[in-house]
Each structure stands twice: as structure tokens, then as C-alpha cells.
Symmetry: C2
Subunit: 393 residues, 2 copies
């Protein structure tokens, strides 16, 4: 039995609508996964994510949870679902990306990577095996292989070296993952998961920076190892937008049709729609909540900054086209006041709206694919974002 | 027609259970009013306050809202209810207390008080008339007279001088208040308020520091002016606990039976229960939310500090006797992790529980008064707080 069930329900050009069933929820794609870095989606209570926003899957960060509260605490408490009380699906990343972006004094070897915690400077070690151990302890529905992520501007030589290592680590990840599943180490296991195995799924990651031939090679070798889904890593890490779109355009349509395609750490609403147009199904990004905390709202008419003086007595909502609980109730004037007054409700309310906007955008995208109108949806969506952008910021 | 309707529905010793009906809600007393200093109860969305916590009245601070966003913005937007979207009752203080506790460079004259804003240092002026103007603009259900609050340890001479000024200011407050009501300046006016006038209510404030004879004189002279309700100001401002209880014991039972009695800015759960025992009906205090933000939780077994290492893998809720949405779902271990990780959800969730605990405590107090068991409730409540306190902190 499989750990997840994937069905493409409609296509429109390269864009796909699908259904991803895990042991804990049914996820309609294209999907945006809110990021719960440290076991919480910043500023948004799970109750809202479940009841109003209807997020079916959130992300958890292995790096952060490995350092705090640590593997032992989470295992003692029965895994990440029990620890956090989030009952739907969780996708955990492998820790690789954060090790390379957040920590100091890294020492990369064939075995893994030694680094110093960004929290307390303590010496730590992660490897494919340890990452799989931690993710089994977390008990997420979707586990990511442990990879190395080269910089966006990496040259061919550096990218190839990295790709080779990532490929070897992918094999080791899969081996350990299988051992852990067999040994029952996954805290999230469900004995009776109606026609699913109840175990975790494992996704591979395609690297290769901006080098199309290396991307293709990475894809082929990753598919050869064989995973339940395939992610595109190493984008939105400093390269220009056209480079990212170019990689996606080249790569996504060549990815297996019968598995979900996940673009890691991306991006803006425009990025999401553009990536769906190139065949991507899954996304995650911190920007809805990160921008929410700095007073920046995503709307159907472009981004706005709540600090703008013109909102001081504006009784309109953040986005007149949004039906989220924040837009139904709170005015720009009120939200601006909360922000200026240093009230944390400004952060929580704008973050809430932003996540609602991302999830709603993906629902509209899905709907348009299903009804065969994705091209016109995409054109109108992007035009509306751009036309109004200037007048709002 | 009256602006509010007050009924005592049961008594037990000096303790009273009552019903206070305003133009916007029916408030069952004894009541704790969550503080919405700047138009938001810090960290708790109105949706929770309405649906789960069922707060019928919250407090707004004239001083803060006068400085930011300012009277003009709030009037343009139709008053505090429309501005914030809070539809139930609001009690606004007069700004007096904050002028004396928060601002710099005060210059007190017969006319009023000049001060510098704690936000930007700008020169500002508040007087009984201006405070009434601002509170009419805010459109709160209950308006407080503008008073001077002497320090808790003030001597007889200083207290008498202050009391005389407060009494003159109370008269001026009432005069201006009546003019504003007649002139229709109250933004919260409701034309059809079912047997109520639809106008604002005005509460007087009894001062006199710890001097019982001056307290009595202040009470008599305030009652002589005549208000819809009577508050006790100038307690919990640095004096010892027995002093506060002594003043309450002396003063509250002498206050008019046919009007609500409001103890301003108090206090801990113990304080609330002790003050109810002496005849007080209404309370407000920032401590449930302020302590929530620093990880300090009020529970039926005393206070606890979420940072305590013993909670690191404790699967129990903050308070096993609490049925709030936080205690039903989240563990000490998870809340501690959120706090240690700097997640703002730690603040919002603990604040939520704390407000739930205060509101629930008042509901239990009311129930015990109604059933004539307040004395035993009080004894058991206080014993339970103290017995467990040591083992928890």
C-alpha cells in the first residue's frame, strides 16, 4: 500500500489540478502550505487555520525543531501532531536549507554537516540519517530528503559537486527512511488509514541551480532512486526571477506526471501562479506571515503597506475582494492604528489575511484549471495585481 | 429615561450579584472588564472575546486614544465602536490616571493638566471638559469623570487638596457631559434602546487615598452631585494590600445600593474576590494580558511561569480546572516551547487563558452569591490558590 494517493483531476496547458490524500487529510492542489517553522504558524491560531482558512497541510522545520525543543522532548510527547495539537497533514523539510542559510561555522563532509546552532552556538550535526530520524520522530506525513542547497549563482563545477553529494544523500535518506518505517519509529503512524499504508511519504529534491542540463540530470537521477513526490529546491535563493521561471519551464513538465511536484520556499502570489502555469502543484513560503508582521498585506490589487498615512481614516478593508474574517470586519484605518500603536493584533490580523489570500488564490487557480479557464484567470490576476500596485503603495 | 438599568439580583453578606443593562449589552455582575487600552485587548481577537469568552464590556483608555489615533480620526470614523468593530459595551476612563502615571512634565492647574505625550513628547492638555468631549467622540456606554489621582501614600493635606479639586472637576465633568448629551455629540447614541435613553452613562469617582474620613467625605460629595454609578479610584497604586482591603471594607458598604460600584484598575483574582466580599460589582485590570505576554498564567492553583523548566515535557494544560479553548487544546510543554522560541502565539494563548480565568472566576463568584454559598466559595477559592502556589512556581 502507498503512503499517499495522488490524482490529477484536471489539466489546462501545463497547469494541473489534483488531489493528494495523506493519512491525515485530503489536500486539493495547487496548494499553498502555511509555514509553521517552530510548531506554530506565526500569529495564527490553529483554530483559524482549521475552521476558517481550511489549511489541509502546514510545514514544519526540522532544523528549528531539532534544536528546540529537541528530538527527545518531541518523542516523549508522541510526535509533532500530539505536541502541537495540529491534526491535519504536516510536511517537514530536512533541515538542509536552514543549516546552510541560518547556522554558522558549517563543516561539510561526505557524512553530513557540522554546524553551530543559531540559538546558543552549540555544536550540532545533521546527516541524511539523522534528518530521517528526526522526521520520523516528528511523525510528519511528508518527509523531505536531506540535501545540500548551493547558492543561486553557483557555477557549473560547484553545482555539479553539490548535485553529486545531494544524490548520494538522497539514496542514504531513502535507505534510512525505509528502515525507520519498518522499525515503526514514525510517531505519526496510523494503523487503519483507509487504503493507505499509514506510514510517512518521502519526497526527493531536484537541485542544479540555474543550469538546465544539471537540473535535468538531477531530476533523472532522483526519479531513478524513486520517491513518492518530487520537489524543486534551490530556487528563489537570490537568482533573478526570469532564471527561476526558466528553470521551472524547463524542468516541471519533465517531472513525473504521477507524483506531486513541490516548489520549495516560493513565493509571491505572482510566483505561485506562474509556477502553476509551468506545472507545479505545491508551495510553501514564509512571506504571508513574515510580511504580515511588518504591516505588508497581499491583496488582489497588489501589495499595500499598512503604515501608509493615506489609510489613517480609510474605512475600507485590506482587500475589497477578500471574504476572510479580517476583511469582513476590520478597516484599513483600524489596522493601521493597531500597527502604529505597536499592538500585536496588527501582526496577527494582517498575517491572517495574507494567509487567507494565498489559500484563496490557490483555490481560484484550482477552480480555473478545473473549468479550463486558467489562462484567462492568470492574465486577469496578474494584470489586476500590477495595475493597482502603484496606486496602493 | 435612564441611560443604564441596574438591578441587584442577589446578595450574600456584602457581596452582590446584579445586572447592568446598557444600550449595547447586558452585563452580569460581579464583572471583570478586559482592558482594550488602544482599541484592542492585547493579543485577543474580538471574535474570541465575543464567541468563547463572552465578555459583555471592555475598557478603552481615553488618554491613549486621545493621543493616537486622536479625536478627529475617531469622530470621522463614527466613534470607537465603528472604528474598532466592537459592538458590545465599552467603558472609557477619563485619561486622568494615565496623565498622572505615564506622561512627563505635568502642569496641574484648576483648569486641567498640561502634559507631554509619552509617544512623541508633544504638549497636550486635558481637562474635565476635554475629557468629556473625547469620551463623547469615543461613544462609550460608560463615561468616567475626569479626576486627579493622588499617590497611595499621600498625606492628609495633599489628599484633601486633591479631593477638593477632584470634586470640582466632577461637577464640571457632569455639566459638560450633560451639554454633550443634549447636543447629540455622543457617537454611540442609539435612538431606540428599548426603555433606555440610548445616551451615555456617567460614573463618579471616589478618591481620598488611604484616609477613611476623606474617602467618606469624597463619597458623600460625589453622591451629592449624582451619577449613574460610582467608582473607587486611587487604590492599587502602591499602598499595601491590607490598606486597600481596609478602604474597601469601610467604603463600599456605604456606597449607594441602587448604583453599580466599580473598583478601578484592580487586580489579582484574590483582589477581585476580596473586593466582591466587601460589596464591589465591577473591575478592570491589565494583568491578565500583561502577565500573559510575559508567560505568567493565572490558574485555579495559583500563578505559574511558563518558562519553568519542569514544564518542558508536561502534557497537561495550564489549568486542569479550566475549560477555555487554550486549556482544552494546548499543553504546558507546547506553550513553554512557543514562549522559549519567541513565538507570539505564546503571548496570545496565555493572555487568552488568563482573561478566560478572570471572567470564569467572576461567573463562579456570581453563581455562588446567587446560591448563597459565596462565603464557602471564597474560602475554598483562596485556599486552593495558596495551597498549590508553592508547588507550581
Amino acid at each position: 500500500m502507498k503512503s499517499i494517493e495522488w490524482k490529477v483531476t484536471a489539466t489546462d496547458g501545463e497547469a494541473r489540478a489534483g488531489t493528494l490524500r495523506t493519512r491525515r487529510s485530503t489536500i486539493e492542489t495547487p496548494v499553498f502550505m502555511p509555514v509553521g517553522t517552530q510548531g506554530a504558524v506565526k500569529g495564527i491560531r490553529f483554530e483559524w487555520l482549521e475552521d476558517e482558512l481550511d489549511a489541509r497541510v502546514i510545514l514544519g522545520n526540522t532544523y528549528h525543531l531539532f534544536l528546540r525543543p529537541g528530538n527527545d522532548v518531541i518523542r516523549n510527547l508522541g510526535g509533532l501532531h500530539k505536541f502541537t495539537s495540529w491534526k491535519r497533514s504536516i510536511l517537514t523539510d530536512s533541515g538542509g536549507f536552514q543549516v546552510f542559510s541560518l547556522s554558522d561555522l558549517r563543516k561539510l563532509t561526505e557524512e553530513g554537516v557540522e554546524f553551530r546552532s543559531h540559538i546558543d552556538g552549540s555544536k550540532q550535526f545533521l546527516s541524511p540519517e539523522i534528518s530521517m530520524d528526526v522526521q520520523a520522530t516528528l511523525g510528519s506525513e511528508i518527509v523531505m530528503v536531506f540535501d545540500e542547497c548551493p547558492p543561486g549563482q553557483a557555477g557549473v563545477e560547484e553545482t555539479r559537486r553539490s548535485l553529486e553529494l545531494t544524490t548520494r544523500w538522497a539514496k542514504r535518506s531513502k535507505e534510512r527512511f525505509n528502515e525507520l518505517q519498518d522499525a515503526g519509529q514514525d510517531t505519526g503512524f496510523i494503523a487503519d488509514a483507509s487504503s493507505l499504508s499509514g506510514q510517512q511519504a518521502l519526497f526527493g529534491i531536484v537541485q542544479g541551480a540555474s543550469h538546465l542540463e544539471l537540473r535535468k540530470e538531477s531530476l533523472d537521477r532522483t526519479v531513478e532512486i524513486g520517491f513518492d513526490g518530487y520537489a524543486i529546491g534551490g530556487l528563489s535563493v537570490g537568482e533573478e526571477k526570469p532564471v527561476m521561471y526558466g528553470v521551472l519551464e524547463h524542468l516541471a513538465p519533465q517531472m513525473p506526471v504521477d507524483a506531486p511536484r513541490y516548489l520549495m520556499g516560493v513565493g509571491t502570489p505572482e510566483d505561485l501562479v506562474e509556477a502553476v502555469a509551468r506545472g507545479v502543484d505545491m508551495f510553501d513560503c514564509v512571506i504571508p506571515t513574515r510580511n504580515g508582521r511588518t504591516g505588508s498585506a497581499f491583496t488582489s490589487r497588489g501589495k499595500l503597506n499598512i503604515r501608509n498615512a493615506r489609510f489613517i481614516d480609510d474605512p475600507n478593508p485590506l482587500d475589497p475582494d477578500c471574504s476572510c474574517s479580517v476583511c469582513r470586519r476590520y478597516s484599513l484605518a483600524y489596522l493601521r492604528h493597531l500597527y502604529q500603536a505597536g499592538e500585536m493584533s496588527a501582526s496577527t490580523l494582517i498575517s491572517h489575511h495574507n494567509v487567507a489570500f494565498f489559500l484563496d488564490t490557490m483555490r481560484s487557480v484550482r477552480q480555473s484549471i478545473t473549468s479550463g479557464t486558467f489562462s484567462s484567470f492568470r492574465r486577469e490576476f496578474l494584470t489586476k495585481l500590477q495595475e493597482n500596485q502603484e496606486t496602493r503603495v
